[in-house]
Each structure stands twice: as C-alpha cells, then as structure tokens.
Subunit: 201 residues, 2 copies
C-alpha cells in the first residue's frame, strides 16, 4: 500500500490526498510536523533531502517528493493525465504556473497568516504577496472565463493542483469575490465524484 | 515552423533552444526585450498573460508558455521524456524542484548581478539568495554522486531544465568548485550530440 508523509494543513499535501480520493486509492497516512521543523531533521531528510512534504512512499520503498510529480504519478493512465501531446504539455504548463507564480503568493500568504506570530517580520511582506496572489488569480480568471477546466476540456491534474490553494486563498486574506469564473470552477471541482474537503482528508 | 519568443540571455529560454538543438528542430527566433519590460506590454500579453518568456508558437498559432512545459512538448515521443510511470514522475519531480527551489535562487542571483544597478535595493538580498542557491546545488550534488543523470538513468528533459541555470551559476556569484559531481554532469551534458552553448543559440 502507498504511504503518504504529509501535514494535515498543507495545501500541497491536500492535492495528493484529493487525487487519491478521486481515484479511490487507499493509502497509509503519516503526519509530519512540518510547521515546527520536523521536515528539516535527519529521519525525514532521508525521504526527501529538500525537507518538504508531501512525500509518497511506493510499495517497494521508493520515495517520491514534489506534490505535482506525485499527482502525475497517481494520475498517469487515467483521464486526469491527458496523453495528447499538446494537452499533456498544457496540463504541465498550468502546474508549473502553480509552483512558480501561484503557490509562492497564494499559499505563502496563508502560511504567514496561519502559522507566523503577529509580530513576525514576514507579516510586513503580506501586502506585496497578496498583490502577487491577485495577479495569479487574474490569469486563472481570464482562462476560466472561456474554459471549464485548465487543459484538455476535462478535469486534469492541473485542476487538482490549482484547486488546493486557490479554494482557501481567503485564509491568507486574498479574497475571491472578484473572480466569478474561478468560483464557478471551484464549484465544478467540488462536484467531481469522490471529492473530499481538506478537513475530511 | 515553430516560432520561439525569447530573450537571448534567458536561461529559461536557453532550455528550449538547447532542446531544439539536441532534437535537430528548426525554428524561427523572435527576440523579446524582457529585461526592459516588453513582456509586460499588450502585444506580448496576448501570447502569455503571465508576461514571461519563453513562449513557443506552434504551427496552428497556438501559444505555449512555461519553459518546462515547452521542454515536455518538444521531447514527448523521444527518449528525453521517459514513458515508464515512475521515471516520468521522477523527471517531473526534478523539473518542479527546478522551478520552485532552484530557479528562484540560482537564476535570480544571476539576474540581480547582471541586470540590476549596483545600488538597487535587491542587491541586499544576494547573500540570502546565494545561500538558498547553494542549498539547491547540494541536493543536486547528493543525487549526482550516485547517478549520471537525474531520472531514468539517461538524459531527460530534467537534465536540460537543470543544466541551463546551473552551468552559469557563477554569473550570480554562486561558485561551483565544491560540487565535483555537478561538474562531471555538466561535462556529460556538454557532450550530448547536438549540444550548443548559450552564446551559440
């Protein structure tokens, strides 16, 4: 059976838990206290030297880090990973956008609000981070005005990847009220068969 | 024929130019002055609303942004994109590492040194960025001590992706002398049939 090393509050981890729920894959869950530095200590670094959750352990003991790579592994062979050459690249385009442009703003704002002290020096970075977050959301909104999904006209791992931190952007003070197409897409993701909310994973 | 919108000094762009050279793909090259903001203006934003080069234009006028997604599109169907499920995911694992952990430090240090004024406020961030860059390189060194390539025991798009900014890390003041395995891997990449240096693309 697969084993997931993860933190219950992580959006990156939730991506992989949601994917396994949608694909009806059973797995063993191991909680890691990433907020208090457990990912930076020896036993975890043997699983991922980069010191980040989630990490998926395969049946043979192989460790696979990087949430979006885990999504690809889990979804490979299903409709969530398109096989058409352009559709496949387009799916990955949005996942690289997620990691480079979206996560460092939308997810980081949430982390600062939820996990850092009110007088932590990084609180001062919030206005700029929220501005970057809105810029990322505006790019998504523009795409979703004309498309139900991010690639291949069907739900793919790009939607799962982007859903995780987008649907809880307001936790970081990045409001979603100005993005009607994003809100419609969030509702579509919630209606996928097997969908589970973060708090139920 | 494919058209590449790119900036000659961009490592993200060089990834895609190197890939096309290795695969002997001809293309039309269009220089974009990304350093002076041309990517943030109307005509370019119609190609990529995220305002970043490189963007690949396909024969039918479709635009594909995100350097690593372009690599996947170009390499799909060749040995540079493994089809084995785990090898494919492992390839992508290193490419997401590249975009989330490696590029924001190794590439950004180079950008600050080469393109920002000596009194620019971001110069003060260089020590921390270089430290993050060395942490990323240490993760690569650890892998390359026991492996010739990043995934599938053969050159893949993960190697092309990571080569671009790694081999010019010293431009940003991130020295490579303490990473013998990285230096050996750089030499292996340079020996791939069809290899071209950045200045020759």
């Amino acid at each position: 059976m697969l084993t997931l090393y993860d933190n219950h509050d992580s959006g990156n981890g939730y991506k992989t838990r949601l994917m396994m729920a949608l694909l009806d894959i059973e797995y063993t869950y191991v909680e890691v206290d990433s907020v208090n530095g457990e990912t930076r200590k020896g036993p975890f670094l043997e699983k991922n030297l980069n010191g980040r959750i989630p990490v998926l352990e395969l049946d043979d003991g192989t460790y696979l880090p990087e949430s979006n790579a885990i999504l690809h592994y889990l979804g490979d062979g299903t409709s969530f990973v398109p096989t058409d050459r352009l559709d496949h690249a387009r799916t990955l385009q949005w996942m690289f956008f997620e990691q480079y442009t979206h996560e460092p703003s939308v997810a980081v704002a949430r982390f600062i609000v939820r996990h850092l002290a009110p007088d932590h020096e990084r609180q001062a970075t919030l206005p700029a981070i929220r501005q970057s977050g809105h810029a990322a959301l505006a790019i998504m909104e523009d795409h979703l005005k004309d498309n139900d999904w991010f690639a291949a006209n069907q739900p793919t791992i790009a939607d799962i990847s982007l859903f995780a931190y987008t649907h809880m952007a307001e936790d970081g003070g990045i409001g979603l009220s100005d993005y009607p197409a994003i809100n419609s897409w969030i509702a579509r993701v919630r209606q996928l068969p097997g969908f589970v909310a973060l708090e139920d994973t």
